[in-house]
């Protein structure tokens, strides 16, 4: 099955980003395909390289970047990002800023859209 994942909440403050990450890993392990990952609302904060969590904790942005390095398309909504001061310069590698059209294509092309957030 082809899945797309939306993440609506910021890192550490909310479990959405962690849950989505573990869900995606499980989806891939089961042999399914991830059509794309889309960060919206405060979710755009998950992929800024400015974050510097304590070393004994998970690094949420790096984790997403590593997932992106495997070839999964990870998109940050430009409108939501601009509103919150997230620009290309502060993004970790292997993620990109683009428009809501990308979310639309994911919704059309994926068999299921799974949303993590309140």
């Amino acid at each position: 099955m082809k899945l797309a994942v939306c993440i609506y909440e910021g890192p550490y403050n909310h479990e959405a980003s962690d849950s989505a990450y573990h869900f995606i890993k499980a989806v891939i392990d089961k042999g399914h395909e991830i059509r794309g990952i889309f960060f919206y609302h405060d979710g755009v904060y998950n992929v800024t390289k400015l974050m510097e969590p304590p070393q004994d904790d998970r690094h949420i942005a790096n984790r997403w970047s590593e997932l992106g390095a495997t070839g999964i398309d990870i998109v940050v909504c430009i409108a939501a990002a601009k509103r919150r001061g997230i620009v290309d310069d502060v993004l970790v590698d292997n993620v990109r800023i683009s428009g809501l059209g990308q979310l639309t294509m994911m919704a059309i092309e994926a068999d299921r859209m799974v949303t993590f957030g309140d």
């Binding site: 939306c6 809501l100 059309i108 859209m113």
Partner: protein, 133 residues
């Protein structure tokens, strides 16, 4: 190479103010309407409050977006529904609903259609994807 038009439903379940979900969710609907997809929107739970006419966010010091719903029909977002029970639970009637556009010929105002949860469930079962905002 023609592909079947996909049915995509938006659900709006949160109050319009207090968080940005409903406002940013509205932006998604307007963008998605420009694509080849069969869009519908269902307001339920606290989301029905977003459709209440006469909202005023001046005192909150935030940008209101109530008027933007008035362009739905112009954007070809015509399948707009509101859950009857959610409205009743919040003391709203069909008279409270804002206008989402007007009929091309008669210029009569068009409002969201009030439906029951059973009808919503039936519509949900037909969707290719459902997006929650």
């Amino acid at each position: 190479m023609s592909e079947d038009i996909k049915k995509i439903m938006f659900t709006v379940r949160k109050a319009p103010h207090g968080t940005i979900y409903v406002y940013e969710g509205l932006e998604v609907k307007l963008i998605m309407a420009a694509y080849d997809a069969d869009i519908s929107v269902v307001f339920m739970d606290d989301g029905v409050l977003a459709l209440k006419q006469g909202q005023n966010t001046d005192e909150l010091g935030i940008k209101g977006f109530e008027k933007t719903y008035g362009v739905f029909v112009d954007y070809e977002i015509e399948n707009v529904f509101v859950d009857r029970q959610s409205m009743e639970d919040r003391g709203m009637t069909a008279d409270d609903l804002l206008v989402i556009g007007e009929d091309e010929e008669t210029e009569a105002p068009i409002k969201p259609k009030v439906v029951d949860s059973k009808e919503i469930a039936a519509m949900m079962a037909e969707q290719h994807n459902i997006m929650a905002f």
